[in-house]
Symmetry: C2
Subunit: 137 residues, 2 copies
């Protein structure tokens, strides 16, 4: 089957690179991952779930669900909401949240170091750009 | 070496664990990732794209597209198809394909080692299971 040559116009990254995603799973939930770590940082920086969500381009509902998932997975909630309730009040990350964030980022950094080293062996085998898709028929 | 068919075993894993996905990107294409590495191994073991796809629970079309993407991203094709053509004939992984697979698996192993170490710091903070979702209203 012929595949359309998709020339997407949005400025996507070019060239050869390596991406590593680390996800901490608890049963079927993602307890911690790249999006949740970014959200924790944004809550720390903005003091609110909705401002943090806005900063990351996610809806309030999505940000709230990510916070809820994290809090349900850890022994101590990573995010604390203060007076005014979840909708109106502020939010901040707990000591456990700071701690978790530090451990997760440290793991990401360690992985990035290993990854860059391994990528050095892989990159020379890659073209500069992919060839166009092969038409099958 | 037949690898366990992960695709159809739907009993979802339980408990706390960490997952790391490594993807080699070239422009917008995934040149190499967990699915493509598994497919390379299955082609090596079965000698055909369609048998490899079947072993991994993917359609022939999907397996073919993954092979095409890999081959378009690397200087030397990772999979060679032999007489009979793509539809009927056999397939095998090239020397470059073996080489790439080895480098990718080595990188995964190095990352897994780091990851397990880092996960030792994270796991004690997790519950045994997530609490039930909070009702928002």
């Amino acid at each position: 089957m012929p595949r359309k040559a998709t020339a997407s116009s949005k400025s996507s990254p070019r060239g050869a690179r390596i991406r590593t995603h680390v996800r901490v799973m608890l049963d079927e939930e993602i307890a911690m991952g790249p999006g949740k770590a970014d959200l924790l940082e944004a809550i720390r920086d903005t003091g609110s779930i909705s401002a943090a969500g806005k900063q990351l381009g996610m809806s309030y509902r999505r940000a709230w669900l990510l916070v809820d998932t994290m809090n349900r997975c850890f022994k101590t909630p990573l995010v604390e909401t203060s007076a005014g309730g979840v909708a109106g009040g502020g939010a901040r990350i707990s000591v456990a949240g700071e701690d978790m964030l530090r451990r997760y980022r440290a793991l990401e950094t360690a992985i990035a170091k290993i990854t860059e080293k391994g990528f050095g062996d892989i990159k020379p085998m890659l073209r500069r750009s992919p060839q166009l898709p092969t038409s099958r028929e």
